[in-house]
Symmetry: D2
Subunit: 328 residues, 4 copies
């Protein structure tokens, strides 16, 4: 059993805590949150206790920290956890600031603790299968990766303001998928965006609709389209085109039911949001993290993956501001 504390009792913290509670290899000992109420409630739900960060860092029974607190706290917590010799699972993004991210990774490197970044989509069964198909040459040499990622509805204005913007907050997942699927590092990014959904998002200095185009040294291309609102649900699709063919992962559905009548054929909207769409990926991700801590050789996204995705997001942001492609 691996002793674990979860920091952050929000939406994501709850997912992790519940997956840990049901995992036979995890001993979920503490929930930590600045809101005592939120911490108490999640601790009760998971039959565990409320903790505080200092005690947890000092607790020899705690081997790993799961960081699901607000982004601004990530870098500091990573450094503190690393200094205390704890294994770390941290939600994306690493930080909103590259320098801060690099500093925390330096501490991780110094103390040589495991660090897994929460790029959960890599563990989605459909996307993992996509990756396997590429590896087994189903599409030949990869040429063009196309990613569609649309949220059902924009987050509230205060979230937007603290989010670091669409590229660091939302498209960062797609940048990670792009790197993972292209099989080569992007060396250039061009991005454009618009405020088409809600002027309040523009007033907060952000975009709600954006397209990014990445290019690798050998000329492989990735195009990403993001929207902060999608009337028909949470739209998550990836297509990989190559010299020998194409592999794609379509959207998932809750049921396989179709109706037909004089107006035509109908199916339900897509799954509501990431909690439903990526439920399996969160579970599998935590299982892999625990198995890696248990000694299994498992390939997990780490600090460098968090850093690279953040670099691309920064460059994409600047690309929209300076209206030129940015070298990476």
């Amino acid at each position: 059993m691996i002793g674990i504390a979860v920091i952050g009792a929000g939406r994501i913290g709850r997912i992790h805590a519940r997956n840990l509670q049901q995992h036979s290899a995890a001993d979920l000992r503490y929930i930590i949150d600045v809101s005592a109420k939120a911490a108490r409630q999640l601790a009760a739900d998971c039959a565990t206790e409320v903790g505080d960060i200092d005690s947890v860092l000092a607790d020899p029974l705690i081997q790993a920290l799961v960081i699901a607190s607000p982004t601004t706290t990530h870098a500091g917590l990573i450094a503190a956890a690393a200094a205390a010799g704890k294994a770390i699972f941290c939600e994306k993004p690493l930080d909103l600031d590259l320098a801060g991210a690099r500093q925390s990774l330096a501490v991780v490197a110094q103390h040589q603790v495991p660090l897994c970044l929460g790029f959960n989509r890599r563990h989605d069964p459909s996307f993992e299968r996509l990756k396997q198909e590429i590896a087994s040459d189903s599409a030949g040499r990869v040429e063009v990766v196309s990613i569609v990622s649309r949220d059902p509805a924009p987050p509230p204005p205060d979230y937007i303001e603290a989010s670091g913007g669409l590229f660091r907050d939302m498209m960062i997942h797609d940048f990670d998928m792009a790197r993972w699927l292209l099989g080569e590092e992007p060396i250039e990014v061009f991005a454009i965006g618009s405020v088409l959904i809600d002027p309040a998002i523009g007033a907060a200095g952000d975009l709600d609709t954006a397209i990014a185009v990445l290019k690798t040294a050998s000329g492989r291309i990735c195009q990403i389209t993001n929207s902060r609102r999608c009337s028909y649900g949470y739209d998550q699709r990836i297509e990989v085109f190559g010299s020998g063919g194409m592999v794609r992962a379509a959207n998932q559905r809750e049921t396989q039911v179709e109706t037909a009548n004089r107006d035509g054929f109908g199916r339900d909207p897509l799954l509501p949001f990431f909690l439903q769409r990526y439920a399996a990926s969160y579970r599998i991700q935590m299982d892999k993290f625990l198995r890696a801590l248990g000694g299994e050789a498992i390939d997990l996204p780490g600090g460098i993956d968090g850093l690279r995705a953040l670099q691309i997001a920064d460059a994409a942001q600047r690309s929209t501001e300076e209206r030129v492609p940015m070298a990476l």
Copy 2:
């Protein structure tokens, strides 16, 4: 150029006449119909002339007759055409009466003229492909054939009364497909039916909803479902299950457009009816008939196929009346 006359200027006669008019090997010389007005109009549309049956039978420039007049006239016209040495294309069914059908086929045999039955669905590109897949062993040994065939709306009551009933009028197409795809003659049929759509159909002594189950000597099975009304269009599907797999032909669509909104995903209803769904099959059928007359070795459904389908339809009808399976 093959000199041809079309008998019958109704819905099906018009399809044949237009396909003949556009075919480079056909010389469509006459349209014949008991309604002088209908004949004149179709002849005008096809830039040809109105004829009468006696002159046409006597005309040495006419090599083939296309019979698309009411079913009750088929047997007589086949016999007359055969006696006159004309090649014959005849719409299904051969006759409503097995004895009449047999007599006319005897005349055909005596004069050794070509006779092609209008089982147009055999020429539908999707169904033809299904047949090829079976032949190339894609499904292994055929075990179960499932046919769904639903008309958009019931025909008018007077049509029902003269139609010979659902099995001879509508399911006869499916009986032919069953024979064609099973690869063995059915030796038994069981059928049940209901009046669920319109009591007037029941009052006319017919059914509007029916299921038939056929079995061959080696135990292969075919299930057919027919309805006289289908709210979402003309539903035409076939699935062939076998020892090695399955092959199926789904419905065709007018466009490939799909919409999505907060209510879900939507596609159009199916094609309206057979004129749209089987337009290609009618064209290909006539082309094959002409090429066969031109000397090419082409496998076309003939008199025996018309007879067998009619036998099965008769037996299915009796099965619903006597409520037992009927040997064939």
Copy 3:
């Protein structure tokens, strides 16, 4: 917490035991099996203990029994459990013999204990949705229900011999679905079958391929096709056609990945078998059973449903032997 014992540590018993172990309202206290080894192993897996039937029936902490032992033991265990005042969950079929089934239900009625039959497919999210769509009139008045159910591979010969035959063992699920979806009791069944897959199945007196047609008093029809072997996976589809439209549940897939290359487009075979396809339905079924025991008003299939499905299976079997439709 509801104290429960699971009888039977085979394939299905294991599913139930694990679902009970993870359910917060269940206290899984004992596993019972004639094989001590099987009982020990499952008890260890589920962190519970091995029990014996007499002690369990006498144990006041046990409120419910889950019967997943061989079919021949069902009726006896139901009667014993009912006499001991225990709530009962029993796998299908109730018994291979109608008289035995009726006797055990009489004991249940006498002691007024809850009895839930394991018709798990009613709880499958897609089929439950199908049922809701019918209830909300998406298809109008139900006219024709079509059920396709194909197992990936036949069971071993000794299973076949003890199974009661395809209709009681396999199609019984579909008979229950037919009753559930038709919205009316069938009053007649006709069935035919063949031995097309394995002569050993025929030698054991059973069929491996079968079609059944059911009819209700108002003329609604259900067609069911079963095969004991399906090369492309576990094929489970239902389509409900009605006066206003059609609702259907297609097969489920493990991922949404599709590949394309010069040979065409490809998708994986279907899920391997019922453990994968109906995993959710087993979990939901047990949850509903527990919630019903906890006092919630939940509609669950009961003894009468087990009896009716068995009656239809018996009649279908006789129909294939006497080659006539059987009244129900």
Copy 4:
């Protein structure tokens, strides 16, 4: 009957000639080609005669010219035809040079003859339906248009060299679709490309893989992906995302047949190329041109559409060279 001459007996000229031959309103009088042999053969196929450009321009029986000769001849022929008072149908692109294109359009304007540009995809039933859905607000306000267009195999090197490059030769169709579907003029284009398929294409100074991103004044975005080789057929898809939903046109298939076996489910590759995929659009396009000449008010792409698409193609080409977005 409208007297018409077709200039160019190549691949596209043949399509137009055959569609004209079968159209009841067209009197196809001449085929013109620099290759006497090609002209003779197509004239024979279409039961018409070989002509020469001077006589045709002088022939009062010729009301319209269909220009399907090499791109370099378009501008000159348009000007000559306009000066002779003939209606003009011209294949895309208008010219490889904007100045030349503008000059020829000036002559058209001066003589006020009808000019229809061969952007045939606007007449494809699926894309036309897409446009109608947008017009009827199915997707709400348009936000992001995504176009996938992949040719099955690259053209020969000498074609590449004379083609004007991928943007003017291939993506020009997609630029027209973008303008047509965005509902606003693009004001900026960014494009990147690679040589991933054949180094000979790079040696000829062209790209074989390219992505373009367009933006309109109100912030609407269009992304286009082109590849000169696609292993699984001719890939042609469009998706329009908006404030209220999404509308998309998927690829068309030759048949609706699907196979399944132990390796999974399979469908054919896509249609081979544009002759098959856009057969209907070419036929409908010519019918609309003829009906417009006959006096019907029909909205057809004209000179300005040809010019705008060419401007975007030019800017996209420069964008790849200067590696910055280009204003339009």
